[in-house]
Symmetry: C2
Subunit: 159 residues, 2 copies
């Protein structure tokens, strides 16, 4: 049995439910991309909503460094599950998603996005903003110390 097999628990209904809760309730997250200039990782804050199929989507400006990075390499990772400002943040559950970013229809997503981000109505229609779908290929959940799980798109109800 490898270290990874010992480290991760068998994914159960509780883990699936917690992961789905974190994803569905995320309003922002930390997006990791590959910096085109250096090949190093780069993490930025992005808005997060979920589309009708349950995948995360984000409204991003063409001017942002992360938008320019995913134009070159769409492989990215999104961390959701915000701890707030009290207590030990490492005890708060969080979900790391492995994703591929792709620009999607801004018009089709507008009602759904604005229902989750009403204040974004101020800039949603700006011409440099696009909606990106972050198609999830896998995830891992950290439910607190010693509670780590691998999840498939199927575990998250994603088709």
């Amino acid at each position: 049995m490898s270290t990874q097999q010992r480290l991760f628990r068998e994914t159960d209904e509780e883990a699936r439910g917690l992961a789905l809760h974190l994803l569905r309730n995320a309003r922002f997250g930390a997006l990791g991309v590959i910096c085109p200039d250096t090949g190093a990782p780069m993490v930025s804050r992005v808005s997060v909503a979920t589309d009708a199929a349950g995948h995360p989507v984000s409204l991003m400006s063409d001017l942002s460094l992360h938008t320019q990075a995913i134009a070159r390499n769409p492989a990215c990772s999104l961390l959701v599950g915000e701890p707030g400002l009290r207590g030990d943040p490492l005890i708060h559950p969080r979900l790391t998603l492995h994703c591929t970013a792709e620009a999607t229809s801004k018009k089709a997503l507008k009602p759904l996005y604005l229902s989750q981000h009403p204040k974004a109505a101020l800039y949603f229609d700006f011409s440099d903003f696009r909606v990106y779908r972050l198609t999830v290929s896998g995830a891992h959940l950290n439910g607190g110390f010693g509670k780590a799980f691998h999840l498939t798109p199927d575990d998250l109800g994603l088709i």
Copy 2:
């Protein structure tokens, strides 16, 4: 003048002060690393403190996927500046740090780390935990819409 030059403002005392405030007050952050298996970015939550020189440090378990990733490739990125759970998170200032991770003396850092993370006394001495220094090579500050700045280590008072 390139898009990047137009996008970023000239770094001033206010930007330096805000960036330093975000770094010095961070107790956790989102760490982006390169996944050894796929070469894709991977973002996890980590604890954050600052060492005597002002660089971020983190207490990480050998069992964590991000620790295994930086053992293979120490290039990483740390996002700090937590918005809390109210208001538009994209208006809240945040700082993206470009770093190189290196294991450092756990014993030397213990008093400083525990002064910033008293609850970590429960597991600081566990044999699988090490302290990593995230040496900062550059940063960018997003102080809210249209307020982006590049910063050097010198801007952050880092030598």
